[in-house]
């Protein structure tokens, strides 16, 4: 006999009240990152050893600009979801856990926006 109400069973959200939401977003972003990671790894190896004008030319190309914006958006989303699990697993003190979770979420948004803004500035030449 289950102590769960029929309505709770039908909703299927479980004790954390979010169901498979986090799990699904982690997988969805992971799937999107499969091709993007291959492109990013190659880009980092190429750009990390290249001079200024090579980097600008590379990022100004529309294909690279769009792929970089996508990688930043999906990558930081995936990273924030992943770090959330790590923090929830290892940080037991409630206020420290909450502070770190908030910090990670804020940092992910700020860094993603800063990166995307930089790419757009280079690609649009402003």
């Amino acid at each position: 006999m289950s102590l769960r109400t029929p309505l709770a069973n039908a909703r299927g959200l479980g004790s954390a009240r979010e169901g498979v939401d986090h799990w699904w977003k982690q997988r969805l972003s992971a799937l999107a990152l499969v091709p993007l990671s291959l492109w990013l790894g190659f880009s980092v190896a190429l750009l990390g050893t290249a001079d200024y004008y090579t980097v600008i030319d590379w990022l100004a190309h529309p294909v690279n600009a769009v792929l970089m914006v996508l990688t930043l958006a999906v990558g930081f989303w995936h990273g924030a979801l992943g770090l959330q699990v790590v923090i929830e697993d290892y940080v037991a003190t409630e206020w420290k856990k909450l502070a770190l979770l908030i910090l990670v979420q804020f940092a992910a948004v700020v860094l993603a926006l800063a990166g995307i803004f930089a790419v757009l500035r280079i690609a649009l030449g402003v």
Binding site: A30, V44, A45, T49, A118
Partner: protein
Amino acid sequence: MAADRDRPLSPHLQVYRLPLTGITSIAHRITGVVLSLGAVLVVALLVAAAAGSQTYQVLYDASAHWLGQLVLFGFTLALYYHLCAGIRHLVWDAGCGYELETARRASWLVIGSAVVLTVITWVIAVAMNGS
């Protein structure tokens, strides 16, 4: 006292030799954290490039140092490892590959693929920058 009884102990990480599947499992998490830190460097590179040639020059000089090269190499290796191990996670999610022998062989496949991808990437990058 109750504590003297001969009870089975849970794996004690300091003395317990992790099986290969355990090592690849924790490595997936560690590379994930490493990549999050590396993502800060990627953003720094982009922002510096957008700020102009003088700002970028600072990072360029740093990346030319052998330590900078090592960081870049480490980032790609961590990225490819996390990618390959992540694909294995997606396969597990589909309900396949849980047999011990399969899991052990897949662990080696993940490690091998990550190394091969890293080497191929750097060979191409060096060749393209050299020409």
